[in-house]
Amino acid sequence: MLLLGGGVALALLWAPEDADQGISQRIFYIHVPVALTAYACFGWGAWKALRHLWTRGERYDLESYTAIHMGTIFGLLTLVTGSIWAKISWGVWWSWGERQLVLFLILFLFYSAYFMLRFSVDAGPARANLSAVYALFGVVLIPVSFLAIRLAENFIHPVVFTREGPQMAGSMFATFLVCLAGTLALAGALYSNELTGKRLDERLLELRELLA
């Protein structure tokens, strides 16, 4: 897993060779895979939430939480890299015309509220249920917000920026795929690592409870 994580770095070093569109192209290899990974994490978290509500399996709650935790970290990374990209491409740190960025801002607000919810309810089945329901709302909010942002462009930002670069060359696409695989693997590694840690914490608490 860690090896694959290292693969990301390798791909990043290799990537600029193909970048014939100047410096702005380079961050594309990080930004888009990170964004897609964040979606994958949110989707995974919602899937685990659904499994939790379906089966009432306790472990799904922790898995859902960890996936959303990862998703939020990658979502924040998306915001940062997107902001840098915006700065390089058209000289501003923030553009309401960039759908992906706006969507991630909304999602970031939403999932921050998810953590607030978790922290203000005592651990237990009630918290697991509430978190799972909210996580499901999140995954529905993604397409709805995307639609909303597209609609909003008509009045919020009259100058709409269109990104119609040339077709991606084969090697660029390959680099992109390697980056995507690398980021996904990194997320997976972080996810299982974090999950093990949280499970250990939980076992420890249980043991302490038993000894007390």
């Binding site: 009432r56 306790e58 005592d122 651990a123 237990g124 089945p125 918290r127 939980e202 608490l205 249980e206 302490r208 409870e209 038993l210 007390a212």
Partner: protein
């Protein structure tokens, strides 16, 4: 009517119930005893369907609408009168001849004169009486009573004693109490919860 095997309930890492075995037949009367925090209330809430067990089996031979649950709190709206509260529950449970039944219960539990008062203005003992009316309103087949003698004065407690004797018969009871001697005349079976530690 209730059959529980290896029942376990945890709140986060806190284990409240562990390996509980329980059988209550139709016409049975089980008393749950145990020190504070041993999970009496949790066991009753599990049986009522207000919470789901973490693991183990819990079978109820009765539908949700046929359970009468008396909790720590009265489960009534403070801003509604005694009559309005019971009327709401009567509608929710689709009690036949609602008005007559409510009137009869209010009369029996000595709340008839206070029927137009807000439940929020009731004393603790009156609230408990109202809660008993609410619990018995739909003539449930399974009664889950959590400390039913709480806050009742001597009259109220004597009244409840008589009610319990009368209600027995085909119904099943699961009663949590710290005062099992009070229920001894009903010849109950005992379920002792030692605490889950």
């Amino acid at each position: 009517m209730i059959r529980a095997r290896a029942l376990e309930k945890r709140f986060g890492s806190k284990r409240v119930l562990r390996d509980v075995e329980l059988d209550v037949e139709r016409g049975g009367f089980a008393v749950v005893t145990g020190p504070n925090g041993s999970g009496k209330t949790t066991l009753l809430r599990l049986c009522a369907g207000l919470a789901a067990p973490t693991s183990g089996e819990l079978e109820l031979g009765v539908e949700r609408g046929r359970i009468g649950y008396l909790g720590h709190e009265a489960l009534v709206y403070r801003e509604l009168t005694a009559l309005e509260n019971l009327d709401l529950y009567g509608r929710l449970y689709r009690v036949p001849e609602r008005r007559e039944r409510i009137g009869m219960l209010l009369e029996r539990f000595g709340l008839w004169d206070a029927r137009h008062e807000r439940a929020g203005a009731f004393s603790r003992g009156m609230l408990q009486r109202l809660a008993l009316c609410r619990t018995l309103l739909h003539e449930p087949d399974l009664l889950l009573l959590d400390e039913p003698f709480n806050a009742l004065d001597a009259d109220g407690a004597a009244l409840l004693d008589r009610e319990l004797v009368e209600l027995r018969g085909e119904r099943a009871f699961l009663v949590a109490t710290h005062d099992p001697a009070r229920l001894a005349p009903l010849a109950p079976e005992h379920v002792a919860l030692a605490g889950a530690k």
